[in-house]
Amino acid sequence: MQSRNNLILVLILLLILLAGYIALPIDHPDWFIRIVAPHQKGDPNALTLRLGLDLQGGTQIQLMPDLPAGQTATADDLERARAIIERRVNGLGVSESLVQTGKDRIIVALPGVKDPDAAIETLRSTGQLEFVDLGSNPEGLGAGDQINTTLGEAPNPVSDKTYETIMTGDKLKNVDVRRNANTQKPYIAFELTKEGSRIFGDYSGSHIGQFLAIVMDKTILSAPVIKAKITDAGIIEGDFTLEEAQNLAIQMKYGALPVPLKVVDVRTVGPSLGEDSVRRSLLAGTIGVIVVLLFMFAYYRLPGLLADLALIGFVAFNMALYKIIPVVLTLPGIAGFLLTTGTAVDANILIFERMREELRAGRSLPSAVEAGFSRAWTSILDSNLSTILTGLILLYFGSNFGASVVQGFAITLIIGVLVSMFTAVFATRTFMRFLIQHFAEPLKDKLSWFSI
């Protein structure tokens, strides 16, 4: 019994050290990441604390299908739209971006994005790509002009004329940007599907020397001249910079969305506000935890000191779990975590109050300690279960409409309550048992150390 407790004590202390090491804001070695967080292998941000938009600055956008009344988008439509949006987001080059589907919407998180408005524009464009026959281009149309096509009308067309759509973007197989070996000028190379090759071959063969417009959402992106018959692969040359060519390629590649989308919710936090929040939260958290540590020691003396040790373990375990799972920390999330330090301490308070009662009733120290833990356990379990239930409801409520603020709070609350049962009950009990076993004699007359 005694040696078993010693073994558990050593294991708990090692675990706290391990958690403390994970919680350190340093680069952890690869082999360590492979053992502790195998699912984050190869992630450059493995075992770092992930900050939400409100702490880091950035934008969260919620998009919903924009369909006429009566029509609904299927889950499949939404998932395909999500995949396309995700590729567009990746095209923006925002690290740590996240694209998820909710019940009826797509939620895009763009942490640290510099120009949120431009990003929203890129995401939102319906992206219907058409290849349109301009004939000899009598109107002198070029990039930026809007035209009506046989597939639909433009909002602000340059003329009333309707041009014929030869093919839509879904018949493109691959789009790439390359550079001309001699002139270093960028051009776009594309490949066509089998059906695309047939349509495009027929058309380009009979229209050499005429203009072909590449049209995105009724706006001309580029209007090159057909120089030769194009069947399975072709190139588009023009007077564009590398960046323009890349944008064009991205739009051609990831163009058509299965359903048009509208932006229903935008949340942007500037970087300076985020930094301010991080600084304030750190300060508030440190002060809060220190005051609680002092209070526990002042109020419960020796047991309080052990509870403090467990509380330090509690903080380390939480931080480590946030990094391992990983949990995206938000401002309400930090509040949730700090509230659960209260829960962790509450468990100890329940136990110590019980211990005091038993000691006052004349029990011996070892039996008072054991009775304190076993009697307080049902209260701790029942009350923590009620908090976890509320947390789960919050989680459901938050995930249902993309309120990541609510989810962030619920997740840290649930993790905190679970960890508190380990540190405040199991770890503190192990510490107490160790103390009682090894120092029972000297402690016998020192009941004042137990605040009696």
Binding site: D265, G270, A403
Partner: protein, 317 residues
Amino acid sequence: MYDIIQHRRWYYIFSTLVIIPGLAIMIYSMVTIGTPFRLAIDFTGGSLWELRFERPIPPGDMVSFFQSQGINDANVHTIGDEYTLVIRTKPLSPEEKQTLLQAMEAHFGQKPEELQFRAVGPTVGKEVTRTAFIAVVLASFVILGFIIWAFRQVDHPFRYGVSAIIAMIHDILVASAFFSLMGFLSGWEVDALFLTALLTVIGFSVQDTIVVFDRIRENSRRRKGEPFEVLANRSLLETMQRSIATQINAMFVMIALLLFGGVTIRQFIATMFVGMLSGTYSSIFIATPLLVSWNNREGIFGWFGGKKKVRAKNASA
């Protein structure tokens, strides 16, 4: 043994005196603005724009600037200091925002720093309101069910559940009344975080109540034959130390967050703070006294069955 329970009428009266004015504020709010609280754009739809300028700009100037841009519903106030303005309007599209920013720069001669922006479409708001309502109702039922289950081995588990729920509604009303009042005094608006605060208050309120009930459950096993009133009082006194110590700790953390924490969650923490104070109070002075009142069939509890007067005067004092 000090008898807390015998003064229960006073606690009921005290809580009523706190809650009635709170309800009055909410009703007054219903009459004047149509809802019991000021609603944030989470529910109404719209845009909220927080901008920081290098020179102070009077909110009135910003309102007239928006009017000159054809936006007549702009509501502007300062936050923190006079350099930071919060502008609330109809939902703005990215294009409108860019146009406004450029016009603002030309008009005021300085480019503001964008601290925060949020836009919510009008249809989403209704849905959020519905989901929020479902969440609160769901939480109440789940907790009622949980308590009835947890106390299934005691006599009348239903009473425990209902008493805990009444204490919980008490705390929701106190926190709501506080928020409604702050809506009038400082323009606080109900958002998703307010609902989170309420649901957390529910969780912790029940936690406090369960600790006391748990002791009643334990004592009723150990002290068979002791009148319920005495038993309940004993359980309250035995758990009092814990309730106070826990409340003090929670207060430390929340005061630290209020004083030093992020500005954006200040309302959230303050609501939780008030709710939790109420939670500790109600677990001692409402939930347990209600159990005794019910047991003794006092007042409206007399309607649930024949009168049964148990008047055990401090048997073990």
